[in-house]
């Protein structure tokens, strides 16, 4: 019997159309716009100004705190301007816009494809290098990686868990990365294990990727301490707490971080970025992005530079289909609809999903029929129907009591609701308000 997490979960149609498609390197665009806030935490501070010449991999925005991340130029060329540009949500955010000239890489970056297995850096140096390279969680949450690797004093980490679950339907970026860069991911895992001073690492892969499980298992025999854990297909297994539960049966207490149970979770994409940063001195400025959808003529996995407009990826995948209803940044469950496709790819863009109009639009909202399906699928053991009501009625103290802040926004409740109620929308609203109240209390 395959392992999975203990509470709730759903199993949406997988639709992995782009599975097995080789990662294509996308041509460098003519112009990139690199947002200065691509991660959770404080936005970075630009260190270049209009007219500056930059090289690929050069630092262009500096991290402004512990929970923040450096940003490096994804292209070479001239800084055209630093201005507010539309982001995926339709609000204007500050971005560095670079006109591309050639493709000059910073000399310190090792561009060869050779596998370097010797880890020469000390744990402190690794964490520093990861921080300098601006690596953030590439699964989509974009939490700065060096923060997770810095185990707080008094806490002990004894297991590293690699998230190769890719539980979002449609997306195949991590899957393909494992197939093509498996060795590098193994070395990356060893680097992370050294940084965390643990001798045990588990790579959790869902059972719908048998080729990846076989490939990685075969590679793992060469490296000590790494085991592959095939998992039952269940959404949202890629959630940190769910994955820890699935792999180790440890439960992270409410409001606490995974380190509380001695675990650190990193995404496989992040692990690959760590390998490149530590062994090749290459900062994070490109990533694998899946472009897919039911009517997309050429579902693909691209290696794209940060700042590339989404429209260029869509064109490379065969253009926008005629029946397009929504273009979603991320997967269908947690992704967000883009208000315009000229917005740039960021460090957190795991996929671009093009939904036909027929399945993209929401159905009319009906009354709650008290079936309790949302309660049974909630992986955090919450009562979504109740949280929606208290958020709607602004009963914030009750919302806090009902542990609204535990919600991981996986959307299983909205997905499963037979009355099409926008449960997550209201819970998100409540989370925002309750978070505000809780922060003002601690001040």
């Amino acid at each position: 019997m395959l392992k999975t997490f203990s509470l709730g979960g759903v199993h949406p149609e997988e639709n992995k159309f782009s599975a097995g498609k080789k990662i294509e390197v996308l041509p460098v665009p003519e112009q990139v716009s690199v947002p200065i806030a691509q991660h959770i935490g404080a936005p970075s501070e630009p260190v270049v100004k209009k007219g500056d010449e930059v090289m690929v991999g050069q630092l262009i925005a500096k991290s402004t705190g512990f929970v923040s991340a450096n940003i490096h130029s994804p292209v070479s060329g001239k800084v055209f301007k630093i201005d507010d540009v539309l982001d995926a949500s339709g609000y204007k955010r500050k971005a560095i816009i670079i006109k591309v000239e050639g493709d000059e890489w910073d000399e310190s970056i090792n561009r060869s494809d050779d596998l370097i297995t010797d880890i020469t850096l000390s744990p402190e140096e690794i964490i520093k290098r990861v921080g300098e390279a601006g690596i953030v969680g590439l699964g989509g949450a974009t939490f700065p990686a060096h923060v997770k690797l810095s185990v707080p004093p008094g806490k002990k980490c004894d297991i590293l868990i690699l998230n190769a679950v890719e539980c979002e339907p449609y997306l195949t970026a991590d899957h393909q990365l494992m197939m093509e860069k498996g060795e590098e991911i193994m070395v990356g895992t060893q680097i992370l294990m050294k940084a965390l001073n643990v001798d045990k690492a588990v790579i959790g892969i869902e059972n719908n990727k048998p080729d990846a499980i076989a490939h990685m298992s075969q590679l793992a025999t060469k490296y000590s301490g790494i085991t592959i854990e095939p998992l039952k297909v269940q959404y949202p297994q890629g959630g940190e707490k769910q994955l820890i539960d699935a792999c180790t049966k440890r439960q992270v207490p409410s409001g606490k971080l995974p380190i509380e149970v001695g675990a650190v979770v990193q995404n496989v994409g992040t692990t690959y970025a760590v390998y490149e940063a530590v062994q090749k001195n290459k900062p994070l400025f490109e990533r694998v992005v899946t472009v897919t959808g039911k009517s997309v003529s050429k579902p693909s996995n691209f290696m794209a530079r940060v700042g590339t407009p989404v429209s260029q990826l869509v064109d490379a995948a065969g253009g926008l289909p005629e029946d397009t209803g929504k273009v979603i940044g991320g997967g269908p469950m947690m992704g967000k609809a883009l208000s315009n496709i000229e917005v740039p790819i960021t460090k957190g863009s795991s996929g671009i999903l093009i939904m036909p109009e027929k399945i993209a639009t929401r159905k009319p909202v009906e009354n709650c029929i008290r079936c309790g399906k949302c309660v049974s699928v909630c992986p955090m053991g919450l009562s979504p129907y109740l949280l929606m009501t208290v958020s709607d009625k602004s009963v914030w103290d009750r919302a806090e009591e009902e542990k609204i802040m535990d919600c991981i926004e996986c959307g299983s409740c909205s997905f499963t609701c037979p009355a099409n109620r926008p449960l997550l929308d209201y819970i998100r609203l409540g989370k925002g308000k309750v978070g505000q109240i809780m922060r003002s209390r601690t001040k």
Binding site: D84, L86, S89, G90, Y91, K92, K336, A337, S339, N340, T361, R362, V365, P422, D425, Y426, R428, L429, G432
Partner: protein, 284 residues
């Protein structure tokens, strides 16, 4: 018979004893309440809207009785009449506050501001605003989902189907500010009602630069500054590409309305001024 008598006597005794105890307890724990609070509350509108800044009319009445100087306190719903009545009961001075009214600072009608996307999420402005910038190119303007209308307790607002914007019914608006708090985009403002309800305001909150603002909405303030230069009373300030008219300084001369290239400045309840326009043209 005997039983009935005993019952009556014992119960009577018990009752009188309790009454005596209650009498002394009431004396001992008597709470003095200023009778004026009740009197003042009587003249307040009993709308409990919170427009005065207090939780309900009773709390406002208590505040009125307690305060030595009540000139800072105002019941926007009752207006000058209510306040002078309350002041009369208390024997305090009150200066009549200028009546205020809510105005919508957005002119992004369906015609002025074309749609660029469709929103089909939860029908709430607050939720929509946390998700994205809106269905049009303007990320500052009205979402048109009517959270302000829901917040209004005085039937002073409705959604105009044609324009997609809320409309404020001036006669019903009591300037309680419920809509101002409800709007997540800070579009609604309380402004002085003005003589004969005449007022002038910049009907836009777009802080984008001129070109993108104009592209998103033909009635947007593009921050050109013409109005600032024209205003003889220094009532207009320009900040972040957006003009703002200070209603305390504005003398309602309407010069800014004429120079605004996008008609972002709205004038309300003025008589038509055809002859003046002709004059200005011939003078040029």
């Amino acid at each position: 018979m005997n039983v009935v008598l005993i019952t009556i006597i014992s119960l009577g005794a018990l009752g009188s004893l309790s009454a005596i105890i209650l009498f002394f307890v009431a004396q001992k724990f008597k709470v003095f309440e200023d009778p004026r609070i009740d009197q003042v509350e009587e003249v307040l509108p009993a709308a409990n809207c919170g427009g005065c800044g207090f939780p309900g009319c009773r709390a406002f009445a208590e505040a009125l009785v307690k305060a030595d100087d009540i000139s800072d306190l105002n019941c926007p719903v009752g207006g000058a009449d209510t306040m002078s009545a309350a002041a009369g009961i208390l024997g305090k001075e009150v200066t009549a506050a200028a009546p205020m009214v809510a105005v919508l600072r957005c002119n992004g009608t369906c015609d002025n501001r074309p749609k660029t996307s469709n929103y089909d999420g939860a029908s709430s402005c607050t939720i929509a605003s946390t998700l994205y910038g809106g269905e049009t190119g303007c990320s500052f303007g009205c979402f048109g989902l009517g959270e302000c209308v829901d917040a209004c307790d005085f039937d002073a607002m409705y959604m105009d189907e044609k324009t997609g914007l809320p409309v404020i019914i001036e006669d019903n608006c009591v300037s309680c500010g419920a809509c101002v708090t409800a709007c997540p985009k800070d579009i609604i403002e309380l402004r002085k009602k003005g003589p004969k309800s005449r007022r002038i305001y910049v009907s836009c909150v777009n802080k984008d630069k001129g070109a993108p603002a104009k592209k998103a909405c033909s009635a947007a303030c593009i921050g050109c500054g013409k109005c600032v230069k024209t205003c003889p009373f220094d009532a207009i300030t320009l900040e972040n590409n957006l003009a703002y008219i200070d209603y305390e300084k504005c003398k309602l001369c309407r010069k800014c309305v004429d120079v605004c290239p996008t008609n972002a400045i709205t004038e309300l309840n003025f008589p038509p001024k055809k002859p003046k326009v002709e004059k200005a043209e011939t003078a040029e």
